[in-house]
């Protein structure tokens, strides 16, 4: 990726993308459905990406990558095929194509960067929006819980899947490199804090990602052939969690959140921790 994209100032998606492309190397093809990333490429006739990019409709990214990957393999090439989709393109609109590609065992890497709303159209609610967060379509706070896409992917039993956070670029780099060594479908879910959407000052992007991991709203783990490994950052957070309020209070989208909702969020965090710890123990 080259300097100067048309991303917003402080965008953690472009930060994550830099490390994804760095890890993937030059022999890579990207498939990008409609999302912020298709906007930050820049304006014709220039693009900020140094690799070929295929822009495609929301619901078709994984299906397109499936065909591409098969064509490359048939031609005897080892080119990496990476789908880089937002949370709307993964959790809501693209889920059937993605599920199909995982079922067929396509050799590709699916990356979902999750800013927890439809960012470039003006922060509408998506399946990834957490409970209690205000978006332009849920002005009083979302009443439903965040969809657990990682559990849905895990049910497809891919060789490798992981969660990452844009605040830990080295972790993203390692996970992408590792994912590309596997043959078959792999999945990485990256949390990407979004300054205009989450309503916090631009300089806090990285801080916010770290707070998300430390408070337990986001858990870093890998699942390799069913074996769960929780990341060291999340292990530390499990032992000594940061109060959830420290993560919620700097964000404008959680302003005036009901204490009942905070309790529910806390319960979900505890439940999630328990489930993952049990998974880790069972698979060890």
């Amino acid at each position: 990726m080259l300097k100067c994209t048309s991303a917003c100032a402080g965008c953690s998606d472009s930060l994550a993308l830099r490390y994804v492309l760095k890890a993937a190397g030059p022999d890579t093809v990207m498939v990008v459905p409609a999302c912020c990333t298709s906007v930050i490429q820049g304006i014709y006739p220039n693009t900020a990406f140094n690799v070929p990019v295929y822009n495609i409709a929301f619901g078709a990214a994984a299906a397109c990558a499936s065909g591409m990957s098969n064509a490359f393999r048939a031609a005897g090439k080892k080119t990496n095929v990476i789908v880089y989709a937002g949370d709307g393109g993964t959790l809501d609109i693209g889920i059937q194509a993605m599920s199909g590609a995982f079922e067929r065992g396509t050799d590709f890497l699916y990356i979902c960067y999750d800013n927890e709303a439809y960012g470039n159209t003006g922060m509408q609610r998506s399946g990834g929006t957490p409970m209690g967060a205000k978006t332009t379509t849920t002005p009083t706070g979302k009443t439903d819980a965040k969809k657990d896409i990682d559990a849905i992917i895990a049910a497809h039993d891919p060789p490798y899947m992981a969660t990452a956070c844009a605040a830990y670029p080295q972790d993203i780099f390692k996970k992408v490199q590792k994912a590309l060594t596997f043959r078959g479908p792999t999945f990485i879910h990256i949390l990407a804090p979004c300054p205009p959407g989450w309503r916090y000052p631009t300089e806090k992007s990285v801080e916010m990602g770290k707070l998300a991991v430390k408070s337990g709203m986001w858990v870093l783990y890998e699942r390799e052939y069913g074996k769960v490994t929780i990341g060291p950052q999340s292990k530390a957070a499990m032992k000594k969690p940061l109060p959830l309020e420290e993560y919620l209070s700097p964000q404008g989208r959680f302003k005036g959140i009901d204490t009942k909702v905070v309790e529910i969020l806390k319960q979900r965090i505890a439940k999630n921790y328990q489930r993952l710890a049990a998974d880790e123990e069972a698979s060890a």
Binding site: K3, I40, N46, A48, E207
Partner: protein, 84 residues
């Protein structure tokens, strides 16, 4: 129909694909070289890769988000209001 069109409508990789985004900036980062210990965290966290290996900020493209100043462990970067 000719087999291959000579000029294909295709975007090509170029630095500054979105123009000089430095003009978006309200606050610019100023590095205090005496405090800086060259850890490189600012370059690592810069979303626009505007800080190079010698830790010099490319002000043509820096959008002034301030992540570098916020993450600097030595607090060697200060955000100063842009004068125009």
């Amino acid at each position: 129909m000719s087999a291959v069109r000579e000029r294909l409508a295709m975007s090509r990789p170029k630095e500054g694909a979105a123009g000089q985004t430095g003009s978006w900036r309200v606050f610019k980062p100023v590095v205090d070289r005496e405090k800086c210990n060259a850890c490189g965290l600012c370059a690592m966290y810069c979303p626009d890769a505007s800080i190079d290996e010698e830790l010099i900020v490319d002000l043509r493209f820096c959008k002034g988000c301030g992540i570098c100043a916020n993450e600097c462990p030595k607090k060697a970067i200060e955000m100063v209001r842009e004068e125009k």
